[in-house]
Symmetry: C2
Subunit: 337 residues, 2 copies
């Protein structure tokens, strides 16, 4: 509308500005990075909800009905769906289209699907960026939906305040193979498709698993909620459980713990991906990268020595916040590749 900067528009909830920013982030425009920096201090207000479960567990439907309930309570919602882009089901594209139809006329819902393709190690960072944009936009709740099997996906849900782990009855132990790391952060187990045979057995198994763990006084013991997302059954109970967990976090003074955990994941993931991108981009100059790959493939050099060389050249200089760069000559090893 005016001479306002993008970050100003975003914090006012401007959907077009936010969508454009996300696209610019995808395209790695430097200005988009600058906008993110300005937005960051406006984050920290959203309640972040992680929803993890194997493909077929009904996560998308669950996210949709939770969103509807939240909208009924006048809450605005942002959704980041990390999609394994199945060529069978149509993946992210089809998924987005179906979702868009449902919430197309609702300004209170903002949806972004992230395909796991084509991001050279940048998926976790993209998720963080988008959660932060939605947070800065003023969304009351931001939902992160993920299959949670990969390493990045396991890390990323640590930015959430409350984590749901969705299981389905009757799929057998193997199918439910959820990473132990995910279980450890599960605040609520959702047995979705609970009208199916085996729901009781799944519940007993989960209860048994929780009994094995010792929970201290005042410690949160994960809740188990049965739902049928398609009919909306159990969703009120699920929202109650989420609310209960939210209160637990507040009353026990755990918000600080969550803030620190989120900050750490953000720093780590951004650091990991940016360092790698920068190193690749530097190595690509003068065709050095292709030459190195060629020489490794011929076993003239080994990749371990190459990486050591890269690191030695970059990390001789002790990093301090004051920009202290003494001792750089002392560590010059001069190992030729």
């Amino acid at each position: 509308m005016s001479g306002k900067e993008t970050w100003e528009k975003v914090i006012e909830g401007d959907i077009i500005a936010a969508a454009r920013l996300m696209r610019d982030l995808d395209d790695e425009f430097p200005e988009a990075q600058e906008t993110l920096k300005k937005l960051y201090r406006h984050t920290g207000k959203s309640y972040i909800l992680g929803i993890t479960g194997a493909p077929g567990a009904g996560k998308s439907t669950l996210v949709d009905v939770i969103t509807e309930k939240l909208r009924g309570r006048e809450k605005t919602v942002g959704i980041v769906a990390i999609d394994p882009t199945s060529p069978f089901s149509g993946g992210a594209i089809l998924g987005d289209r179906i979702r868009m139809q449902k919430h197309a006329l609702d300004d209170g819902v903002f949806i972004k699907s992230l395909a796991t393709r084509g991001h050279l190690g940048g998926l976790s960072r993209s998720t963080i960026d988008i959660v932060n944009v939605m947070d800065a936009m003023g969304k009351d709740v931001v939902i992160i939906e993920t299959v949670g099997v990969g390493q990045d996906e396991t890390e990323i849900v640590k930015v959430a305040h409350t984590n749901l782990v969705v299981v389905v009855p009757g799929l057998g132990d193997d199918i439910q193979a959820i990473k132990a790391g995910i279980l450890e952060i599960a605040d609520i187990f959702v047995i979705n498709k609970s009208d199916r045979e085996g729901a009781d057995k799944t519940r007993r198994e989960l209860e048994h698993m929780l009994e094995m763990k010792k929970y201290g006084e005042g410690e949160w013991k994960p809740r188990i909620v049965n739902t049928v997302a398609l009919t909306g059954e159990g969703i009120d109970e699920l929202l109650d459980a989420i609310e209960e967990h939210r209160k637990h976090i507040e009353e026990k003074g755990l918000l600080k713990f969550h803030d620190l955990r989120k900050a750490r994941v953000e720093l780590y993931e951004i650091l990991k991906n940016r360092l790698f991108e920068k190193a690749l981009s530097d190595l690509s100059k003068n065709g050095l990268l292709e030459k190195l790959v060629e020489e490794i493939s011929e076993r003239e050099i080994d990749p371990y020595s190459v990486v050591e060389k890269v690191i030695n050249h970059r990390f001789d200089y002790y990093l301090s916040r004051e920009g202290d760069e003494s001792d750089e000559s002392a560590q010059e090893g001069g190992k030729g590749i």
Copy 2:
């Protein structure tokens, strides 16, 4: 036995030396890294087989029967299983124990399970290290077994010469949600548990999917093989298909392409993980890391600026193979955090 170095023992196929090296790599002993460097030029002889599929697809059983067949043909086998460590099924530990029993007395089989827990972004690098150790040991075939949903897992199978993607009939489209990235590298589709209802439908779906793609003259068109791993049905046909693909690679002169692809993945994954580890270790000095996390959580700073600062301090120095470090002062921005 003697004053031999570890790398010498490993290339002679010494199982105890190899197992100890893998443990030392887990513990990140610097000597283990040095051994890897020495081993690398002895790699490149193994045929690497990637086996990817959702939990419950029967990958482990398939790997076991393939291994048995290969042993029957006097081939030695190394197996790297990337395990999602399900707390339901017992995960890596139980899995390893069952496998160990079966092949415990067979020196020709070396098995290593990698849990996806506890590796701070180092899973892909660990896999590469272990494949290289097994290759240097002289294993004829090295099998990488993975669920292939995460980003790291998708990258890692690119080191394989032949990639199998395992699907199961009757699990529905959602369950089969295999990443498009994985499909693109699938050389052979295995419809396991083919005695189940829906095997024909799954085959038709796969055939249909392959028909949609245009394959050029002389290009490899993925095979589809039906198996029942538990009874061994279809395993001979599967091995024939693998052999057919191996011949295709050789005859079309594609070995170089595979060598380059493997070298690139190795370099990228080692680079990404080592850079991150080194940065974290540097930042941890003087409690700086904790201070940064604290300040990010308070939104006094933003993680994007912190990472930019880290990168600027490290990447001012143009990397060249000659150790050229001119221009380092020219780019000193001096942006305080």
